[in-house]
């Protein structure tokens, strides 16, 4: 199954990215999580017609992607899963909101077009911000940050276990479907008569595996708490990182940086 193979590859490549020995990867995960959430809130707080003000927020992903050696192409590829819904919602705006806003070269630009563009921009910024977070922070570190902000232990443990067994399960699903398709050439998926048995067998094996996992975890002294490995930069650097981005993003939110820069240089 191409989808499963791609998903496994995606997980491995993200892990490799997050485990690099760079300044951004070694920052305290809590600082990165808080900055990302703050950024998302600020981006979504822009009015639906404030396209120029909103575009100022591109500086955050731009700077971090360049300095953090994060592929911009990969970031754009990650837009695909959310594009369908956003297109459905956004594409209607120019049709229903036809108030003229300005004319450029004889073409009337409506406020609907403006709000659609703002929606696409917001989508892009949100996806990029999440990508920056996961490309510089491992899932273990994110779980550690969640524990620091008092997210209940049971939830964090489940999250970590799902992540740890994800690749294993995907490989198993891949093997099962490969085996099925080799015995049923010409079929695109699992036929109706085999729906229950294919996924059901896998489910039963998963439950048995869960039992073994529990026993081995208990034998190794698991008491419900995970501790992340790896080295972080000194705390003050992470604090400074948070303060810098907090201040910088707040300024961009309040001051229309692009408009000011344009007017100064166009005099």
């Amino acid at each position: 199954m191409a989808g499963l193979g791609k998903a496994i590859h995606e997980i491995h490549s993200l892990e490799n990215l997050a485990e690099r020995d760079t300044f951004f990867c070694r920052l305290h995960p809590l600082a990165k999580v808080l900055v990302t959430i703050g950024y998302l809130v600020l981006v979504m707080s822009f009015g639906k017609y404030d396209l120029i003000g909103l575009s100022g927020m591109c500086l955050y992903p731009l700077i971090l992607m360049i300095l953090g050696d994060i592929s911009i192409r990969q970031a754009f590829r990650r837009l695909r899963p959310v594009l369908l819904m956003v297109c459905l919602v956004g594409a209607a705006n120019p049709l229903f909101d036809r108030t003229p806003w300005m004319t450029a070269g004889g073409v009337v630009i409506t406020t609907g077009m403006l709000s659609m563009a703002a929606l696409f921009l917001k989508t892009g910024f949100a996806v990029f911000a999440s990508y920056i977070l996961i490309a510089t922070t491992t899932m273990e570190q994110i779980c550690y940050a969640l524990r620091k902000i008092h997210v209940p232990q049971i939830l964090v443990t489940v999250l970590l276990l799902i992540y740890r067994y994800l690749v294993l399960m995907m490989k198993e699903a891949d093997r099962i479907t490969q085996a099925y398709l080799l015995r049923a050439p010409g079929e695109k998926g699992i036929r109706k008569s085999a729906w229950g048995s294919v996924a059901g067998q896998m489910l039963l094996r998963s439950m048995d595996r869960a039992q073994r996992v529990y026993e081995s975890m208990t034998l190794r002294g698991f008491r419900g708490e995970f501790f992340p490995g790896g080295k972080f930069v000194p705390v003050w650097q992470s604090v400074l990182y948070g303060i810098f981005w907090g201040g910088f993003l707040a300024v961009i939110r309040v001051v229309p940086v692009f408009r000011i820069a344009g007017r100064i240089f166009m005099l």
Partner: protein, 333 residues
């Protein structure tokens, strides 16, 4: 049905986070009360299983397309609604972070739309009443299909409400609902059939693994019959639909009100403040302070200068970053 961050404003996102957190808090309390330490790894492994199983394509007979499992219903039927809900939160967070499906800010909405309805409505209001007089394959099939269809309809309806309440789209309520509900009706039917097939297989092979299996077999007497349960569910569905439709018919007024607020005075006031701030900074930084703007306040002038300034700032920023990188590499040599 995953909502992207751009589809919600912070106020709606925060409201849905609060609602989902309350449901999560209640679930955690219930799971702790069950006091089954074995359940934690089961939740993790089952979560990973649902994730992987959702990527398997099941061919839909008579069409060229394929369908997937319904995660919420399957988890509820195996682990119970509370553990299932917590597992769904983990799945949704990983989907959002690793596969960019959904958004961090919209996570509260996605938890509510998919996990809450799937686990609590599907598990407590549909699965449990169906199984009260004991499990049969027919009941499992009927409960799975009913739960998947109803919870997906509720989830799709919530997506519509949350997006419209955010004032993001100009789509009229009726059009949006008209697009969302039929699509999810078809998806719900297919997902229900696939989930039913899997659960029937589990019922035949290891019935004790299903949630409420022991309880169901022990309470065969003095409970509602299958037909009675169906009647109650139908009445409940009609009631819910009636309440929802009343809520829906009242919604456009609220939207008009919020639209006016977005495009009205509050927005203009914000733009004015920003404009003043821009003027102050400009007067402090310009080489010739007593000037007049070439484009004054016209939309075109503002846009062109904004675009020009944007390109300029981005170029400067990128150049600075690449410069920093270059010097860093040189230093490393």
């Amino acid at each position: 049905m995953h909502m992207a961050d751009a589809l919600v404003v912070p106020a709606v996102a925060a409201t849905m986070y609060v609602a989902s957190t309350a449901a999560a808090g209640w679930s955690i309390k219930k799971v702790r009360l069950e006091n089954e330490p074995k359940k934690i790894p089961a939740m993790g492994v089952m979560g990973a299983f649902v994730f992987a199983a959702q990527m398997i394509n099941f061919t839909i007979p008579g069409t060229g397309s394929s369908g997937h499992l319904c995660g919420g219903m399957l988890l509820t039927a195996m682990l119970g609604p509370f553990a299932g809900f917590l597992t769904m939160i983990g799945i949704l967070l990983i989907q959002c972070l690793i596969f960019a499906d959904g958004g961090l800010l919209a996570l509260g909405c996605n938890i509510w739309n998919m996990a809450f309805y799937g686990c609590f409505v599907g598990g407590l209001l549909i699965w449990k009443p169906f199984m009260k007089n004991g499990m049969t394959k027919k009941k499992i099939t009927a409960a799975s299909i009913a739960a998947c269809v109803i919870t997906l309809q509720m989830g799709a309806f919530s997506v519509t409400l949350e997006t419209l309440a955010s004032g993001i789209t100009e789509l009229p309520f009726s059009v949006f609902v008209g697009v969302m509900q039929p699509i999810h009706l078809a998806i719900g039917l297919v997902e229900g059939l696939i989930t039913a097939a899997v659960l029937c297989f589990v019922y035949e092979a290891r019935p004790e693994m299903l949630w409420n299996a022991g309880e169901a077999s022990g309470e065969r007497e003095g409970r509602f019959s299958f037909k009675k349960t169906l009647v109650i569910l139908t009445v409940a569905s009609a009631f819910i639909a009636g309440v929802l439709s009343l809520f829906a018919s009242a919604l456009p007024d609220g939207l008009e009100w919020s639209m006016e607020r977005v495009a009205g005075t509050s927005e203009l006031a914000a733009a004015g403040g920003a404009y003043e701030a821009a003027e102050n900074i400009q007067s402090a930084t310009a080489l010739l302070p007593d000037y007049a703007f070439a484009f004054s306040d016209s939309a075109a002038g503002t846009t062109v200068s904004g675009l020009f300034g944007g390109v300029l700032v981005i170029a400067l920023c990128a150049a600075l970053c690449y410069g920093l990188k270059f010097f860093r590499k040189e230093k490393a040599r």
